[in-house]
């Protein structure tokens, strides 16, 4: 087992990983930018190293600083969390060269799944259904128009190097497509340093259902069930739950098998997520694979009882999957609410000092956060300040419990999404489980 792990991240996920290491008796090293001197992850780690000034590119994305930090503290592994360097194949490769374990999949698997056109090809070869789309990157606007007319509108433009909703544009006719073409390429260029885009048929009234997969270094590969992530705003997830109200055991079996086949196609190790679109008739299509821990991993932890971060560390150290002989059938129901510091109307980030922070507690309530009363949320990073994870015997209990927990969650000094979540939990369609990725559009109009 590792002796010391450096956590190449910040915020709640850095704390989550520090907690897992402490429970395994492993020492921890926090890294931080100058803007994060007072952050809890710095306080809770055994050691800490300032790796640069506030811009992420100079600190949390600064590979040479982070590798040096691991070297001077003699850390033998790095956990990248999510975001930042977590899906950077080059970073994983350098660590390998430096004899530091990257807690995640192989650089090869990251690369194969990171290139979205290549991933589609791999999936087709593995027999996993994909959304009808251009066979590869589309070079010109004319080529895009030709594909769209052939496949039928609406279509969606996506960045080849993309993820997280950036660089995505939906077009419903020729005119919209011509307009979206340059915008999508510019956004892709800006966000990922690569303007390449490809096209897919845009499926409407679909759900976003993803499967958690886990592979060890002994050839075992399992799925841990699904997460329903249809409640999104601008392709950013807001609420995730497990299990999905749309899956019966048969469909869960079929999608789970496809997820495992998808991961096996790139000899996947460690934790990863296969994202599917699911239409109302039970057809599902591979969207993409996230080759890292997800923000929403806690709902899977709650219904399976597996500590996924400890599992990641153990697997990276060579251990077999701990749940090979367990029944991972979901036990109860779990819902995660992302509490962001943002204006609930304009959705603009609302950084500032948290003057009151009183999170809810009690049965079935888990809070993952790096915030505290008096904490100054720096304006440089993302706006997630807490994840509220609610579990109950069934979905109904989780919804009622969620309402009371959101009522008891007091945050003052910054604007948050707490009230918005409270309204979503009152929505009859949400309560009945009638949701799709368009849910928030309807909700915003109401």
């Amino acid at each position: 087992m590792f002796k010391k792990i450096l956590i190449a991240n910040r915020g709640e996920i850095a704390l989550r990983i520090i907690s897992a290491c402490k429970e395994l008796g492993i020492k921890t090293v926090a890294i931080y930018s100058e803007a994060d001197r007072d952050a809890l992850h710095v306080r809770y780690a055994d050691e800490d190293v300032c790796v640069g000034p506030y811009p992420s590119a100079a600190s949390y994305l600064n590979i040479s600083s982070i590798v040096s930090a691991a070297e001077i503290t003699e850390a033998d592994a790095i956990h990248p969390g999510y975001g930042f360097l977590s899906e950077n194949a080059y970073f994983a490769e350098i660590l390998h060269d430096c004899n530091i374990t990257f807690i995640g999949p192989s650089p090869d698997a990251i690369r194969k799944m990171g290139d979205k056109s290549l991933a589609r090809k791999t999936m087709t070869a593995a027999g996993v259904p994909t959304v009808p789309g251009s066979p590869g990157p589309v070079e010109t606007a004319d080529e895009a128009l030709a594909f769209a007319r052939r496949a039928g509108y609406p279509v969606i433009l996506k960045a080849s190097a993309g993820g997280g909703g950036r660089g995505m544009r939906v077009a419903r006719d020729d005119r919209e497509l011509s307009g979206a073409w340059e915008t999508a390429r510019n956004e892709a260029e800006k966000a990922f340093g690569n303007a390449e885009v490809y096209l897919e048929k845009y499926l409407e009234s679909t759900r976003h259902v993803e499967f958690q997969v886990f592979g060890d270094h002994r050839g075992n590969l399992r799925h841990m069930g699904e997460r329903e992530c249809s409640i999104q705003r601008r392709h950013q997830k807001l609420i995730e739950e497990s299990p999905s109200a749309a899956l019966d055991p048969e469909l869960r079996g079929k999608m789970g098998e496809a997820a495992v086949a998808a991961a096996r196609a790139v000899s996947y190790t460690n934790a990863g997520t296969i994202e599917f679109l699911l239409d109302p008739r039970g057809n599902f299509y591979f969207m993409e694979m996230n080759t890292r821990l997800q923000v929403e991993h806690p709902v899977t932890e709650e219904v399976t009882g597996v500590d996924m971060v400890k599992e990641q560390i153990a697997v990276a150290a060579g251990a077999p999957l701990s749940f090979l002989n367990c029944d991972l059938k979901p036990r109860g129901h779990s819902i995660e609410f992302r509490i962001n510091a943002e204006d609930p109307v304009s959705f603009k980030p609302s950084p500032g000092r948290i003057t009151t922070f009183n999170p809810p507690g009690g049965l079935g309530v888990r809070v993952d956060t790096a915030a505290y009363q008096g904490y100054l949320i720096p304006p440089h990073y993302d706006s997630l300040i807490a994840k509220l994870i609610i579990s109950g015997r069934d979905r109904e209990e989780a919804i009622f419990r969620g309402r009371r927990a959101l009522d008891q969650f007091v945050v003052e000094g910054v604007k948050t999404t707490i009230a918005m979540h409270r309204r979503i939990l009152e929505d009859p369609d949400f309560v009945a489980g009638r949701i799709s990725t368009r849910f928030m559009d309807r909700f915003a109009e109401a």
């Binding site: 790796v51 600190s59 600083s65 982070i66 040096s68 001077i72 000094g413």
Partner: protein
């Protein structure tokens, strides 16, 4: 929570009104403004008192005084600090030494690369903070230099 602007206004008020102190504390936030130093003898007390006087340089709540001729060079990267190019060679720079702008002061090894750190000012080395072979983080103090007049 008070904004910077509000604190500035409060400072003005404290000095205008000739208050001796103002302290506000809330949820981990605390500000204390102490008024213009009370004079210890009658003569200056009279001068210090009237609210009218605009208390010109009343720099309240000043941080520890900083010598304007003191310049500190901090580490631009994370790595291991070396005072000389190899264990056998002499140090690049010693305390008391006068250095010119561009003079190499030390090496920081980061990912097997030796990064030479140059002086960005002209002056005299007053202090070398890290020991030879010691790890340094970003922003850590390396050298104190007294600027050439």
């Amino acid at each position: 929570m008070l904004s910077f602007k509000e604190i500035r206004e409060l400072i003005d008020l404290v000095s205008e009104r000739g208050l001796s102190a103002l302290e506000i504390e809330q949820a981990g936030f605390r500000v204390r403004i102490e008024g213009v130093r009370a004079a210890t003898n009658g003569a200056s007390a009279t001068a210090a008192a009237p609210a009218a006087l605009p208390a010109p340089e009343a720099a309240p709540a000043a941080p520890p005084e900083v010598d304007p001729r003191l310049h500190v060079i901090t580490s631009p990267i994370v790595g291991t600090f070396y005072r000389s190019p190899s264990p056998e060679s002499e140090s690049f720079a010693e305390v008391g030494q006068k250095v010119a702008r561009g003079k190499i002061l030390c090496i920081i090894e980061s990912m097997k690369l030796m990064n030479e750190i140059e002086s960005d000012v002209e002056g005299e080395i007053l202090e070398v903070y890290p020991k030879n072979g010691q790890p340094v983080e970003y922003g850590e103090k390396l050298f104190a230099i007294r600027l050439a007049a």
